[in-house]
Symmetry: D2
Subunit: 382 residues, 4 copies
């Protein structure tokens, strides 16, 4: 079968990659790359796709250089147009997408009107508060095969009327990838990344659309808390810059105000091998990235989620939710770094997001699709 | 409150109009017009919106002149871009849309990313088989207020996790419009429209995306059945041309092959007053238009739905479902035209789609929205 | 060399085809098809390109279904976006376009910013009054190689500062095509096209942008004149429907008002072989198509150009210019059909648009391009 | 008259502003803002337009976040679509644009097809080598009124066939603006901008499309030269970041490699009053900005143009052209900073780009347009 994957950002490609790698054993894979992958400001991550030796069949620019809310909907308009042209020419048997970003809804719409099967990874996740979240469920109503990261997600899709034969619990495919990445010794890593302190915390914070106006002040609170903690306990903060969503310039602005400060080290993005080893060795993950929910339990590291961005999500016991309060953030940092009982518990946590077999399970689910049986393409909602 | 309505085609505007007319008593209404409204091929129905004295704030072209499947997704791309520009400038408090067409999903996406309330009329309808149908449910997952045409639809939305405070059964707003339209005496109407026979059947047939390849042959079967029936029993068929969906050229082609035939009269579109009086006086409605389900029970006329386009839909006893079979179609035409017991039953039918109070009920539902309460804008799915 | 041709309409493809056919002997040719080629309303002429066995690398929809002036500029926006995606992926050495329509300026812009050579056929033509005309000259200022239809055109390009090494007089490539088309005997043709009269006039009339408001009334004058002439002298008019430009619906509307009239026969488009034989046998060509200027002298038939659409153009003695006046039009029809002296002169006319060697000459000109010499890509205007 | 201005970047708005300010005394002015004006990366310069109290009627995003060549043509596609929607709604009498960037050609195309007058400032400039340059001439072929910065430019337009009544020499309107900007004392300015040395050179360097591959290495040469000069003679370099053209990331990258170096001070953009006073007090302007040609003679400061970006342009004696050679650059820096005879000559230079009366002259030229006389809208090329 010919399968077209659509990807727009590094974080989502990291989930897609192990699936495509497994799929390419038996199928023809091609990729349409868009969004931040094509942006030098976001480190031009197309290069990683090319390095992974996938056939990139179209470059569809969809990231508009603005911090206004209009950025994402206009980007979807562009994606749909470019992708329609691509799908008509390539004529794949199915499209595959991950998650809740622009690429997922654009692919879902194109697949729907062009009579193509849509495989959706990571539906049914009950998170709320961000513009991404309702999109995820809209995509589920348009998708023909659901590969869920958690059992509870699969149940949610059945509840909202998705037919049982379409729904699979497969787990988080990124684990297969993490597992494969060679271990870099901590010393070597610290030297390579010029982090002159083994005690560091990784900070990743993205804007939340429903709190767009407060992005800057919230980031300031986060940074003040980390400054206090790091300077008090001789820690470093390693900050990875935010994604491209509206409000991200506010976050960058807040971060850039702390320049030449010793406790703070910044990266736009890192090569996958460095990034994964950075996380493996961190004392804690802080911010509001979905990594704190979906990946931190695999690493068995403490995760501190600040604010409302991951509200509603199933999580393991290693994730703490705190409000934008300096006291609360510092308290949870202390717990994450110094509470031995808590750290011991984390070592034995139960992970709701499966294990490293997800890519295989997704391939098996896809194999069940019979293009000649119209039950696959015609969705009978409810 | 400032409310922006998005409309793309006459059939959907006829549902929207009575709602907007009611809303404008207390609110500022503006309209973005798109799709077939702007097409001379579809009779340039923008003129009716202008005649109704609404402020049209942007003309967003989205109807591409092609019969390929790619037409609709590319059109959505255009709509989203034009509408994003419009919404940013007009800055309305909410957007309002009807149904399941391109305009509904485009408006839902723009509203979602731009933090605007989306009012959706006609969600929860369990029809399947057409590209429109999953779109309707995707829009529901993005909408903030649901005004349902049938009680069963409202229940469906609750089942798929929509929060109770967002869901209302209001009935079909087009009834208010039909009721208001002055009666034209049959004789006068026949003369005006040059229909020289009081016994006529109205035919409206649209393409079905999941049977795109068979559109032409299916239409031929329909036309052959009607030709036989009309010539045998001295009836006329009044054919209204199809909508703009891919496959519609095939339907037109089939119709145009019967030129200069006395039993067949064709119209692109008709002024609303003529159209409604045409339906009031028809012996039956045939084809696969949603009118056969949603409006025919209000007119209390027999409706024959050919094929799979309205599968799964709740309907009153006046609607018969038949396959693309000449025998079956003729049989159901005979029943609709000559079976007095059936016609008597139809006069007493129970209509699941409410009554002419829908526009008022929709206004009342909208009044419940409190823009300052974040529960309205933040959707907690499930 | 890899050459990408961009084509949007049958009339322009007929000029392009013999060039591409010649070029494909030594080069890799691919085509991006757009506009009316993809529209069922315009007879889906993509099929002819496919039949000619060219590789079509992208279908770029650019024809919006509306009769408003905005249609063409929005179409160019779409073309540029789709073509940019196509050119980046295909990475041709050069782009080739003909004339003055949307495709020419879109290709010129894409070539300019993407550092590709643009070959332009038919620059330097001093016609004015239509939106197309200034576009032709704008394209010339962006093109890197000019293949002119007339010597005077080549001179015009030198006057406006184009460097001499870029400018070639090649003649009209469509003649090579016309020459090759097999002759159908008149009797056979008339039967095939159901034209029951050997005395017929071919009518092709397009809207003129600067007289957009008058399109309908001007067409009525044309039709009234032809009706009078045909009914008086027992002639037929064979009307070919207009192109897709704004105002074309007005022309169609005017034509459609004469239905069931014996003197008038209508075609949307005709297969090339039928069309060329239709012209070969016509008594005269009337309207305002560029055929009346550019091709009629090759056929040696009288051409009557009504109104301002071809003003300023070099022409042979077989072309008469008349205003929108019934008397004048009838007078010129009489001259074209009955004035033997005039008809004899036409048989010996001198054609400024060259002969059937144009495709070869264009190939030779293209061979002069040296991609490694920066003089070709860097235009030194003036 | 209602006049719609289209602007996409600060440098071009600075030329447009004094004209619009003069025009608004007698006309209704509105602005469509696009491109870098809407980008936080380029300092969101829309704020200056708002501060100048113009009515901004649409925000048209056209700056795609990528450094690939495809960025600019795709941006023009977006601009044309958004602008077509805007022009149809606003229905201005004319459009006004400056120069040779995306906005100029987009506006020219929209005006052409929508029968609107286009006023073009800065046509006829014979510069070559950049993608902008042929665009400028293409716009001239589409424009209805030409306001030229230099007499020689006006002559060039006559040579290329523009009708005499359309062509005016008005001079550079930015001078009126510069003149009005209050003087900040050098001491105050240096303090405000934290420049701790009165001897500084301003560096502005943009990518050149025809040398896209060499952008980075060329910038390195420039920076090495300045580093040597500044460190040797105790000077500072004040670097203003480049525009948004493809290749600009390479320039930023090169600049960012010199962080924490004392000789180098960087700004994204500066408020107009600061910027103009910065230039007033600089020892020299270096790089390849058009300021070095078009504005430096008004300031009477030495300008060093490195490389081919301004080739072909008329210039005063204060501008030196040097290749990308460290020796040559240093030599010309010495001349600019230390050669008293040269500096004296500069004080008495003759400026080919007029004086501060340009805005008034442009208004007078626009007043000559008679919308009812079709000679204005119908261009008779040649």
């Amino acid at each position: 079968m010919k399968i077209l994957a659509i990807t727009g950002i590094r974080s989502e490609y990291d989930i897609l990659f192990p699936v495509l790698h497994e799929l390419r054993k038996d199928n023809k894979i091609c990729i349409a790359a868009s969004g931040a992958h094509l942006s030098d400001q976001y480190n031009n991550t197309l290069k990683y796709i090319v390095k992974d030796k996938f056939k990139v069949v179209d470059l569809i620019d969809s990231l508009i250089s603005t911090d206004r809310l209009v950025q994402r909907s206009k980007g979807i308009g562009l994606l749909i147009q470019g992708l329609s042209q691509c799908v008509e020419r390539e004529n794949p048997d199915m499209l595959i997408v991950v998650g809740d970003r622009e690429e997922s809804i654009a692919a879902a719409i194109v697949a729907n009107y062009m009579n193509k099967i849509l495989v959706h990874i990571a539906g049914g996740d009950p998170v709320y508060g961000n513009a991404d979240d309702p999109i995820r469920f809209a995509v589920s109503k348009l998708a023909h095969l659901h590969c869920c990261l958690a059992k509870a997600h699969a149940k949610n899709l059945l509840k909202i009327g998705e037919e049982k034969f379409r729904v699979f619990f497969t787990g988080n495919p990124s684990y297969a990838n993490i597992k494969k990445i060679p271990i870099i010794k901590k010393k070597v890593l610290l030297k390579k990344l010029k982090i002159n302190n083994p005690n560091y915390i990784v900070l990743i914070k993205h804007p939340l659309s429903s709190e767009y106006e407060d992005v800057y002040s919230q980031m300031k609170i986060t940074l003040k808390s980390l400054k206090f903690f790091c300077e008090t306990f001789n820690y470093k903060t390693v900050c990875i810059y935010p994604n491209s969503d509206p409000g991200s310039y506010q976050i960058r602005k807040a971060v850039n105000e702390y320049k030449n400060q010793k406790w703070l080290i910044k990266f736009t993005t890192l090569p996958r091998v460095d990034f994964i080893n950075l996380i493996r060795n961190t004392k804690a993950l802080i911010g509001n990235s979905s990594m704190g929910i979906l990946e931190s339990p695999f690493y068995k590291i403490p995760a501190i989620n600040i604010g409302n961005r991951q509200k509603g999500r199933i999580h393991a016991i290693n994730t703490e939710f705190v409000p934008h309060s300096i006291n609360e953030i510092i308290k949870s940092l202390k717990k994450a770094c110094f509470n031995k009982l808590y750290l011991k518990k984390i070592k034995n946590l139960k992970n709701p997001y499966g294990d490293s077999t997800a890519p295989k399970k997704i391939c098996q689910a896809i194999k069940k699709i019979n293009l000649k049986d119209s039950k696959w393409i015609i969705k009978k909602n409810l």
